[in-house]
């Protein structure tokens, strides 16, 4: 019973995953065998995807779907590639066609569940997952829903695909705001166990050197699921998510950590984080959030500046108060050598969200590069006011003050920065500014300006 259910769910998930990740060589061999048929085009799209030629992959998948509008693999390939590239309207149409072609196909249902999550239609996503489950034999469904955790745990351990199915359900419930439901589900499937100190384990992994970033991330997630009172870990998880661009789930986690912590200073800190890093009272639409993360990768990883710029524009149309895309529009302008346009984008970002610390930080550093010392000083002073632990911002402010011959101001800022750097991260993180300051102390002001590194010091305050 277990294995039959497992087999069918696995088949659905595996087919869905394989659609995006079939091995290049196999795909190439198949292409050779199939010529230019729609099936060959689908294989070619997969091969292009595997080689990182995403635009080619999308275009080939489009050709496949146009050549064979009644082909389910072609429609799914087009939907998958369009979704991957952030072309959500196109993806939505392709999936709708796929579903009309095969309303009872579990692969299509799973892909639709994923896409619905991406655009924030959580209820639809859960319905599709439930529909997959409903295709299993009654006994298997009962087992999956009600068997005790000690039976569920080995089932998930044996089947990564089934585990992925459950983890997706948990993530969706968390994003939907049903944290209690997500925790119940995690306990029910033996993903977390009562009485285990996940938070301590996560902190040990964070400090240790043997764990990968993914391991640490997963450990904090388990703490958020398995230890409802571990305010710090829930908070770290939220901050991590924020860095990656998960504005919605990041906010929920930071809110939860702030709610749970009994320490007033931490509550204050949590409120500040939401205000200056997560947009305060202006939550970001899920669709805009997903597009933002995709646009970032298209720009940074793929070097696809045009595609990314178009997506950033769409994000700003969907969520004009979302500050982070403005920083990327500024970077794109800088890439074109247009410093003025970059500055305008950052100023628009500040108009959209006047308390966005990162936008102030970026504006301050841009003005510093342009040697507009007075404007830079104003922007960086605001940066530090919003987030006093911003090491890079403080080094930059110190430089602006130095450039304006406000050496006392420079001394104050650099001393604060160095004290903080030593306490948080050791002497190496601020070696160059410390050396410069030592010389300044000994010889007084010189012709060169102080260095302004921008080190990554605290989780949750990076990226963009």
């Amino acid at each position: 019973m277990k294995s039959r259910m497992k087999g069918r769910i696995i088949a659905a998930i595996v087919v869905a995953l394989v659609a995006l990740s079939a091995s290049t060589s196999v795909a190439q061999r198949r292409v050779a065998a199939l010529g230019d048929s729609p099936a060959a085009l689908v294989e070619r799209a997969r091969a292009a995807y595997n080689q990182g030629r995403y635009q080619d992959a999308l275009e080939t998948a489009r050709r496949a779907a146009e050549a064979a509008p009644r082909s389910l693999p072609a429609q799914l390939a087009r939907g998958g590639m369009a979704e991957f590239m952030g072309e959500f309207d196109e993806a939505s149409q392709a999936y709708a066609r796929a579903q009309s072609l095969a309303p009872d196909d579990n692969t299509t249902r799973y892909r639709l569940a994923l896409f619905s999550t991406r655009v924030g239609d959580y209820d639809r996503a859960l319905r599709e997952l439930d529909a997959i489950l409903a295709t299993q034999p009654r006994a298997a469904q009962l087992f999956f829903r009600f068997a005790p955790p000690f039976l569920q745990k080995p089932l998930l351990q044996q089947s990564p695909a089934l585990e992925q199915f459950v983890q997706l359900q948990i993530d969706i419930m968390m994003e939907k705001g049903d944290l209690a439901g997500a925790r119940r589900l995690a306990r029910g499937h033996g993903i977390v166990e009562p009485g285990r100190d996940y938070c301590t384990e996560a902190n040990a992994k964070k400090r240790g050197k043997g764990s990968s970033d993914d391991d640490v991330f997963k450990a904090f997630r388990l703490a958020a699921l398995g230890q409802p009172d571990s305010a710090d870990c829930i908070w770290w998880y939220g901050q991590w998510l924020t860095d990656e661009g998960y504005m919605r789930l990041g906010r929920l986690m930071v809110e939860e950590g702030t709610r749970v912590t009994p320490i007033p200073a931490n509550k204050e800190s949590g409120h500040r984080f939401m205000r200056i890093r997560l947009g305060g009272e202006r939550p970001v639409a899920k669709r805009a959030e997903s597009l933002f993360m995709i646009a970032k990768q298209r720009y940074l990883r793929d070097g696809d500046a045009d595609g990314a710029a178009r997506l950033f524009d769409e994000i700003l149309r969907l969520s004009p108060a979302f500050a982070r895309p403005y920083s990327y529009k500024a970077r794109l302008a800088l890439d074109d050598g247009d410093r003025e346009a970059a500055q305008r984008w950052l100023q628009r970002g500040i108009e959209a969200d006047s308390e966005s610390w990162r936008t102030w930080h970026n504006l301050g550093r841009l003005l510093l590069e342009a040697e507009r010392w007075e404007d830079a000083e104003r922007a960086l002073a605001r940066t530090i006011e919003l987030f006093p632990d911003d090491l890079g911002g403080r080094f930059a402010l110190a430089r602006a003050l130095y450039a304006r011959s406000d050496f006392e101001g420079y001394r104050t800022q650099i001393e604060l920065a160095l004290r903080f750097a030593r306490a948080c991260c050791g002497p190496d993180v601020a070696k160059a500014p410390a050396d410069f300051f030592m010389k300044f102390q000994r010889w007084g002001p010189g012709a060169a300006l102080p260095p302004t590194p921008d080190p990554r010091t605290i989780l949750g305050w990076n990226q963009d």
Partner: protein
């Protein structure tokens, strides 16, 4: 009266003990086939360790000394001091020339150390004293390594073990099969019979056949490797391996391994023998440069598939020596690799690799392997020297190029490392680890944008590369496009 009765009882006990002893020794000698010399050495050694028997009984002097030397030799071998062990075994063989165990121990240790001449002589002596299939097997194997193929084939033809040896092997397989099958099927008697009993019978048959055919498979390989194809085919026919209905590159039930299947495919079905390519790579990975070369050359010449011909050519050029290596050089290189990896005796391995080079100075593998020994020791300067020699001998030696890059990177000679990695990458452009190595080296040289491209490519080719993924993630955040939620994107 009572004393006389006790004496009679005592005498009876002594007679019974004596007769029992005689019977036991006769059983050992005639039924179990233990040589008299070995019994004598054992007894002399055992008693000699308590009293100075050799002074009392001169005939016991040699066997007792041999027994002691064998024990000391075994202790030395356990300490991985193989050369010292060989010295003791030589002493043992000299002290008791009619003791087969001394010759066998001497031969085995000499073989480990690549002293094939000595090994062959010792095994031949042991076989002359106590002929047996095992003794012939040892002689055959040593002769093969020395390149004395006719002696090897002639001896191996008489090296198949007795029926009971194969039966034991078959019975062991049947028992394992039955023991693992019963707990799963005990509740269903029909299935128990069908699956477990029949399955165990099949396991017995397969294992019996496989055990019986081990030596013939070796002879067949030897004949093919020597290019005596007609003789090899005749031999295979005699064994019942050549059948028109069998697809040698597919599934079949003949009691032959993958390698023999591939060789038979090559000889009898050349148009459907592309499995030879993968087998040749395995053979080469096991050190069999000669046979692998022969198999690849055959595929280059006769495969109907262009892709197979090209792949075979690629392997031939970049993974194998650029010429036909003498059998002795190949055998010494294998012996040295075993010394390094199996016997954990790197110093001895260096000596034997050097002998392999002496046997064929154009053979680049032992140079590379010496480089790897030094790399394992952290002596990258020496490693670099030897890897450079490997590349001087064969500039197309892909693994040596890669290792040369690694050695240079460890010496922080970044430009040399990059040059080597790029050459290796030109040979194998889809190697994720090479792209990663190029990426890290470029970072050291301060060329980050180029490094990024290489690291991205590496991760795309092999998503399990953790350090490279972490580096990219630290710059761009995780690539969340592959899933809509934090977990699904990881």
């Amino acid at each position: 009266m009572a004393r006389r009765a006790a004496a009679r009882r005592g005498a009876r006990v002594l007679v019974v003990l004596f007769l029992g002893g005689v019977l036991f020794i006769s059983l050992l000698v005639f039924a179990a086939g233990v040589p008299v010399a070995q019994l004598r050495a054992g007894a002399c050694g055992a008693v000699g360790s308590i009293v100075m028997l050799d002074r009392v009984l001169p005939a016991c002097s040699g066997p007792a000394r041999a027994s002691r030397e064998l024990a000391v030799g075994r202790a030395a071998a356990n300490r991985r001091a193989y050369r010292e062990a060989l010295g003791h075994y030589r002493e043992a063989a000299a002290a008791a020339p009619d003791l087969p165990a001394a010759h066998v121990a001497r031969g085995e240790t000499a073989q480990i150390l690549g002293e094939y001449e000595e090994a062959l002589a010792a095994f031949q002596r042991a076989a002359a004293i106590a002929p047996s299939p095992e003794a012939n097997l040892r002689v055959g194997a040593a002769a093969e390594r020395q390149g004395r193929v006719d002696v090897a084939i002639q001896t191996l033809e008489n090296a198949s073990g007795p029926w009971r040896q194969h039966a034991v092997s078959g019975a062991r397989a049947a028992v394992v099969n039955f023991a693992t099958c019963v707990p799963v099927n005990w509740s269903n008697p029909a299935r128990l019979w069908q699956t477990c009993v029949t399955g165990s019978r099949d396991a017995y048959g397969a294992s019996f056949d496989a055990s019986r055919d081990i030596v013939p498979r070796g002879i067949f390989r030897l004949l093919v490797e020597e290019g005596r194809y007609d003789q090899a085919l005749a031999f295979a026919r005699e064994r019942g391996w050549v059948r028109p209905d069998v697809e040698y590159c597919g599934r079949h039930s003949l009691p032959i391994d993958e390698e023999t299947s591939a060789l038979l495919a090559m000889l009898t079905q050349p148009e459907r023998a592309d499995c030879v390519l993968a087998t040749a790579v395995d053979v080469a990975d096991g050190g069999g440069a000669r046979l692998a070369r022969l198999m690849l050359l055959e595929r280059v010449a006769r495969s109907p598939q262009v892709e197979t011909r090209q792949n075979a050519q690629w392997v031939l050029r970049y993974r194998l020596p650029d010429h036909d290596v003498p059998r002795l050089a190949e055998a010494l290189n294998i012996a040295a690799s075993r010394l390094q990896h199996v016997h954990d005796a790197a110093d001895e391995a260096l000596v034997v690799f050097q002998k392999s080079i002496d046997a064929d100075p154009r053979f680049s593998w032992p140079y590379h392997n010496i480089g790897r020994v030094y790399m394992a020791r952290g002596d990258f300067e020496q490693a670099r020297v030897w890897l450079g020699r490997a590349l001087a001998v064969n500039p197309d030696h892909w693994r040596a190029l890669y290792s040369y890059g690694v050695a240079n990177a460890n010496l922080k000679r970044w430009r040399d490392a990059l040059f080597a990695y790029r050459q290796a990458l030109a040979i194998s452009p889809n190697d994720a680890r090479l792209h990663a190595s190029v990426g890290w080296t470029l970072i050291e040289l301060g060329h980050e944008p180029e490094a990024e491209r290489e690291l991205k490519l590496a991760v795309r080719l092999d998503p399990s590369l953790q350090a490279e993924r972490s580096w990219l993630n630290s710059r761009y955040g995780a690539d969340v496009r592959s899933g809509p939620t934090p977990s699904s994107a990881r």
